[in-house]
């Protein structure tokens, strides 16, 4: 027995120098990547309860999610925003002891999919080591995905960063930097938010994982850093955007049409969003953007990043700049080179005619004699599930997709009649659904507030609703609607007949 033990120890000694020689090769051994010296994770338990956009007066059944949070300096915990969307209650749990405390969401950015939590008990995170950010991840690096076993033991799975590129995040607004990692990771009960770590520093947070192809997309540390820096300010502003659409200039015919004679470079501006920085700075459709912040842009729309090499120029706007910054943009207009200064700003979901997402907020609605009116939103269309683009009412999908073309003036909502609750005042209207309201009692309707105001002024005792689609007009008797309101509310169990705020 004794001899046996000795020989084991000898092997250990023999191996050690090998490991030391291997280190400079920039291939961190599993020991350094996977095993943290100290624990830097907490469990996060969230009870979420999304609003029901089809029955806007109620919430859906509550459900719980378990996830991991990365402990950051100043007693904060980082998770994905998806996790805390429509949350009712957030709770932190120490993995090693099972001790729990409530937590508040300090900031949530649903576009970058990041949220910052703070325990109600300030001492709760004592003993955990805050994670620093690793901002230098490049293609070829190995990152470890940290998960916890049911026992609280830490499990690390290593993966290889194969691509760093701009992709769309779940909110589907603009492009963000993304690490793509090839990793064979198991689902565990806390797989919702998985931190990715490089040398015991936080390199990213799981965005999506496809177990079939074993490809993981991660929100990278530079985006996290941007979020955290913004979160330090009094008012979180969000990631900036410029507000123009573009197209590569690979086609020599297109370049020549746009007046470019020299070397191929830049992107062709195809559209300008109204009231956005590009519009305000005077960028025009047909301009070629050849430089952003003095970085040259090639005909594919890429600049050369010191860390990543060629990557799409939108990274310069979302990750490298902040709302309020001025971004010099070099353009070619009819062959002449000029510079525009874009005062970058964040475009809030509320600034769209048809908001791209509504989270943590109750949907507005107005019930009038059984006719249910709502403001059109993508959140409503998403109620049709993953295939909403095909399954949701196609006319509304079209309006959402081409909203800046259809409502170029902006600064309004689209009010729609979504369904009819059969009642005495809606006899004969039961089959009406998904109609776009244009006028009520002769007044143009650009929001649900407009509608609430307009219905108060009936025409000779009638409320006349005009719609874009057939039947084009719907009438109700104002007195009857008023008289039957209470019965309708009781009959269908509506807590309220309207929500305008």
């Amino acid at each position: 027995m004794r001899a046996f033990r000795f020989s084991l120890a000898l092997i250990g000694v023999l191996l050690l120098p090998l490991g030391m020689f291997a280190a400079p090769k920039k291939e961190p051994g599993p020991a350094t990547v996977v095993k943290p010296k100290e624990l830097s994770l907490v469990r996060v338990n969230v009870t979420g309860q999304p609003y029901d956009y089809v029955r806007p007066w109620q919430k859906r059944a509550a459900f719980s999610k378990r996830a991991l949070g990365a402990v950051l300096p100043q007693g904060r915990v980082l998770v994905t925003a998806d996790l805390v969307a429509n949350q009712n209650y957030v709770e932190l749990e120490r993995a090693e002891s099972g001790e729990k405390t409530g937590a508040n969401v300090v900031v949530a950015d649903y576009e970058a999919n990041l949220a910052l939590l703070e325990p109600t008990d300030k001492k709760f995170l004592n003993g955990l080591t805050p994670l620093q950010l690793a901002l230098d991840t490049v293609v070829g690096d190995r990152l470890a995905a940290w998960q916890l076993e049911a026992t609280g033991a830490l499990v690390g799975t290593e993966g290889l960063v194969t691509t760093i590129q701009m992709t769309r995040y779940p909110a589907d607004l603009g492009q963000f930097l993304t690490y793509r990692i090839s990793i064979s990771m198991q689902y565990r009960d806390n797989s919702y938010t998985v931190p990715l770590v490089k040398n015991n520093k936080l390199a990213g947070l799981l965005l999506r994982f496809d177990p079939r192809t074993q490809v993981l997309d991660a929100i990278p540390a530079p985006i996290i850093a941007h979020f955290l820096k913004d979160a330090e300010t009094q008012h979180y502003r969000g990631f900036p955007s410029a507000g123009f659409g573009f197209f590569p200039t690979r086609d020599p015919q297109l370049r020549s049409f746009a007046g470019q004679s020299g070397k191929a470079a830049g992107v062709y501006v195809t559209s300008i969003e109204p009231h956005m920085p590009a519009a305000k700075a005077g960028l025009k459709v047909g301009d070629i953007v050849v430089g952003v912040g003095n970085n040259e842009i090639d005909q594919n729309g890429n600049y050369v990043d010191p860390l990543y090499g060629k990557i799409e120029f939108t990274n310069l706007i979302t990750a490298r700049a902040f709302a309020g910054d001025t971004m010099p943009v070099q353009i070619q207009r009819e062959g002449k080179t000029m510079q525009l200064n874009l005062a970058l700003d964040h475009r809030a979901a509320d600034d769209y005619v048809i908001p791209p997402y509504n989270i943590d907020r109750a949907p507005l609605y107005y019930v009038l004699g059984g006719l249910i009116f709502q403001e059109l939103s993508r959140q409503f269309l998403r109620e049709w599930g993953a295939n909403w683009l095909k399954d949701a009412p196609q006319r509304f999908v079209y309006k959402d997709r081409f909203q800046s073309e259809l409502y170029p003036e902006g600064n309004r909502r689209v009010v729609v009649l979504t369904q009819v609750l059969p009642a005495n005042s809606t006899i004969g209207y039961d089959d009406l659904a998904y109609l776009t309201v244009t006028k009520i009692n002769g007044k143009e309707i650009k929001s649900l507030a407009d509608l609430a105001e307009a219905v108060k002024q009936p025409l000779d005792g009638f409320i006349k609703i005009e719609t874009e689609e057939d039947p084009k007009q719907i009438e109700l008797e104002a007195a009857q609607v008023e008289a039957e309101a209470a019965a309708l509310q009781q009959n269908y169990g509506l807590p309220s007949l309207q929500r305008l705020e």
Binding site: Q253, T270, L389, Q394, V397, F402, T426, K464, Q473
Partner: protein
Amino acid sequence: MKRFAFLLSALLYLNGGEIQAQQRTVPPPPGATSVATPTPAAPQTLIQAPAVATRPNGKIQKSLVRITATEVEPDYRAPWNSGAIQRGIGAGFVIEGNRIMTNAHVVSNSRYLTVERDGDPNKYPATVLFVAHDCDLALLKVASPNFFKNMTPLTFGGIPELEAVVSAYGYPLGGERMSVTTGIVSRIDFQPYTHSSIDQHLAIQISAQINPGNSGGPVMQNAKVVGVAFQGYSGDVAQGVAYMIPTPVIQRFLSDIKDGHYDKYVDLGLTYTKLQNPAQRHFLGLKDDDRGVLVGTVIAAGPSAKSVQSGDVLLSIDDHPIASDATVELEGESVEMPEVVERKFKGDVVKIELLRDKKPVTVSLELGSVWPYAYLAHTYDVRPRYVVYGGLLFQPLTLDLVDAYQPTDIRIRHYFDYFVTEQIYLEHPEVIVLTNILPDPTNSYLAPYRASIVDEINGQKIRTLTDLAKAFSETPDRFVVRMIGDGPPLVLDPKEVESARERIKTRYNVVSEQNLEDQPARPTPVDQNKT
């Protein structure tokens, strides 16, 4: 009358060898269960059928015809190709004047037709005399005088009563020789006719089993034809639901062709809704007499455009009062309001009494067809229209195109769905889509433009395929093609395109670079228009 409510489940043609299904639904609310829930099938047991003592309809073999059609289905994805060749079997029957009646879908796109009769070993070549795709009927003739010897022409009856027993004759699957099935009249109602897909006419639902191969066969009662079997649901959607074309539709077809030309159904060219809401009725100044329907959209290209307005209330049509549920009483029966128009012909005048701003107005409309509907209907016997320029394939947006490409592009789907009701045809009588690109050095960078709709070429609005062909026939320094919506212009150098022409034609076997006219797919028989 054209149909805007979409089919809730799959309706199939009953032409042997060819099954075409159509499925479009209004989106149900999320989470709703499907409307067409298949019912559990009853256990199958063989029941001995009671022996039929007599044959109430006489010897139908003396009138029944088996039709073999060789068809060439146009290829909308490679429209210069002649298309796939297929063969189908259908039924037909002899009527007066040595003519054979069958369904339009039995002989659509046919290149060669033969007919056979009972007890005669010969196959006789036949030709199409008239075809009406909007009501799925056709008449054939056979050159050989021998064919009609000893054949008995069938005569037509009226609309059979509900629950009356009828027999269907034809050549459905299951054997070679004539088959008879019986059933009762289950329902008499307006139904979509799936052959054109846009038309809706009176149809009679029968419980007699009819299957692929029954198409065009007579449905008989008391030795008279009371219908032509034409469509039904496939077994996985609904059982025992088959439809026949009733005699009013058949008689209308026979009358229409009397002048040697089929003029198609006529239409009012408007949409309307029922007026069953009391408040709405009061608002519009209507009496409590359950009359009137509300006009929604007046199609600018239709007969009502000049005399009817959105918001008018239609009170009567040809002095038949219109009930608030859009029915009229015709010969003692309550029928849908369009039935009055259904029985009319091109150029006929219809009188409409209506209420506009609470004042009575009487208008007369000269009926005609509404051309934009043609883009929403299946077409047959014509070659697809297209233009190939620089390897770019441009085609007008039609139902056949949508079926061939199943476009997912939201804008294309919107332009198709709302072509008539949003009057898109006023600005774009044809919606020209860049449907496909035949890759070549001259169009290397143009793939992202696929599935976009052409708006302008060099500042010239493109309203039709002919406009597009004309624009491309000029030789400017360059073509700047603007597509609808936000997007870069598509820029082409005519010189480069010219130099690539032969190369593209050869490489992709593009036999012809354009087809601008609705050319008949087969040579018109010289005697087609003579009766």
